[in-house]
């Protein structure tokens, strides 16, 4: 293979992995919340963007080290989610058909955050990128890749593995799956359903925030990423099966590679059309998704 061909292949692979881990992270965050609380979080894209923008402010405007800024923003997601849970989410825990109420509620949050961003960050700049956490470039044969991007990729992969282990083997993960499968049976077996709900909401949003921060480390972010991410994460959740973490992981990676490969030949819009088409087909013929439990 010529150098040019190697560079194209390597760049497709790294972009695929990078997008794949970010998509998977956000989709896992969405699916944990939907799987437990029954809350389709349409605001996931805005939360993702919020994390990117806050990390940008903390590192660029306040001059913090980007790693510190990243940890600070992910930490800040905990009180943020807790406050939302107390103010809004908690009210609907016992409401029948609450997924529609939650959907509209999170669309309301989407509109508020989008409005705020467009009069603040939208005025200040149109591209946001964090300063590199790790400087330098590594060469793979003729192909250069920023160490920073490698670091983001590594951290995201470790996070995904940790999440998978947590949900599969830890007590909390078992309780979460029990609540998803049968809320009242889980309650009868001594699971504190409300505590699990609260934990899932906080954990899910934390994961989405982590995705946003890592994305802003690797790529520059603009305000339109929020809506794309929201729809993509929903598509991944529906195709993988709502509530299925394995489904979110696998389909997230598939989507990442699809986008990387399609972007070589055509515009990303074509990739978006293909996700949405796949999602419609799944919704119509197998609404429980490919990895349903």
């Amino acid at each position: 293979m010529s150098d040019a061909a190697i560079i194209i292949v390597m760049s497709t692979i790294t972009t695929g992995i990078m997008l794949g881990v970010i998509f998977s992270l956000v989709a896992v965050g969405v699916t944990i919340v939907y799987g437990s609380i029954w809350m389709p979080n349409a605001a996931n894209g805005q939360f993702f963007l919020l994390a990117s923008l806050l990390a940008w402010s903390a590192s660029v405007s306040w001059g913090l080290h980007p790693a510190v800024a990243a940890l600070l923003v992910i930490g800040a997601s905990v009180p943020f989610s807790y406050l939302l849970e107390i103010l809004l989410v908690r009210r609907f825990y016992d409401v029948p058909n609450r997924n529609v109420s939650y959907f509209v509620l999170t669309l309301g949050i989407t509109q508020i955050l989008a409005g705020i961003f467009s009069v603040t960050y939208g005025v200040w700049s149109d591209q946001f990128q964090l300063p590199p956490i790790v400087p330098g470039v590594t060469l793979f044969g003729p192909f250069p890749i920023a160490n920073n991007r490698l670091a983001s990729m590594g951290i995201a992969t470790i996070l995904l593995a940790a999440l998978f282990a947590l949900l599969r083997f830890h007590r909390y993960g078992r309780a979460l799956r029990a609540v998803f499968q049968n809320r009242e049976a889980a309650a009868l077996r001594g699971v504190d359903v409300r505590a699990i709900y609260r934990m899932s909401f906080i954990l899910g949003n934390g994961v989405i925030f982590a995705g946003g921060v890592l994305f802003a480390c690797a790529y520059s972010v603009d305000l339109t990423v929020a809506w794309t991410m929201a729809v993509t994460a929903f598509a991944i959740m529906i195709i993988g099966g709502p509530g299925s973490v394995l489904g979110a992981l696998v389909i997230g990676m598939v989507f990442g590679f699809t986008q990387a490969i399609v972007s070589i030949f055509a515009s990303p819009t074509i990739a978006a059309f293909s996700y949405l088409g796949a999602m419609l087909v799944i919704l119509l013929f197998r609404p429980s998704g490919l990895f349903a439990r």
Partner: protein, 323 residues
Amino acid sequence: MTPTLNRWLPHAAFAVLAFGAPLLLSGNRYFAFIAGITLISVLWATGMNLLYGYTGLMPMMFAGIAGISAYMTIGLAAIGWSFWGAMLVSSLAASLIGVILGLPSLRLRGFYFTLCSLVIQTVITLGFVYFVNLTNGDTGISQIPLPEMPGGGSLSGLAYDMVLAALAVIGTVVLTLIVHSQFGRRLVAIREDDGLAETLGIDVTRQKMIAFFVASVFASIGGALYAPYVGFISPRSFDVLVSLNIWLMVAFGGRGTIWGPVFGAVLLAPVPFLLQDYYTIKDVLYGLLIIGVIVMLPAGIAGGLKGPSRKAAPATLKAERAQ
């Protein structure tokens, strides 16, 4: 005699208001324009009410259908069609496209229908952006020519407002006729319990499809008239937030009543214009209202203040499907 009179009295009052407001405001073109936009919103909210208020469907692709009709009307008018012929053909075509796109999802219930319609709306918006030679992409189409009048000249100013007022009134009359017909009662049965409606021998999907077509006609006519009235459209004029705002007018005013959504539209449609320089606050304000409606006013202003419905047994005791 009296019950009929009682039924149509509010329509007469609304007609007086709808025709009167642009007349009174005709001295100030800006305020008359706001009245015109409000009348289009009334038409849209009435169509959305048929689906959300009476059938229990939440169609997030409502604005997309209006957009298809608007783009198509402009396109046909540009190749020499009469505006009115173009509007008629485009409205029917857009409604049919809406039904064809929505047909498979009409089998789905509740949240899954809403999600499906959101996906379809996103596809439509992406289509508006992507097919640049038809829609001029993100730049949008400006300087849209006004509709022509039968006797020559073009429809503008007060005359245009009167057409919009007439359509808003016709919209409420059509909705009232539907609601009081057997078809309307079937829709309400579907809204209350589609499983039970099916058991009673109602063809649920078919009824939903007809309701969806009628509502799409409302959306399309509104879209076709919106474009020349404002003079500019872009994919943002018909994106998911527009659907959500029309939904908000219905939910805030009071779903499932004839006049609640009309009131909601009259209250909310002028807001972005009255805020003038601060119009970007509109998004934040609408978002807060959406949350307020969901949390405190599930039945809208017409239904009064109530908490989230807790009619059913606490879900801890209630069997739930796993998705």
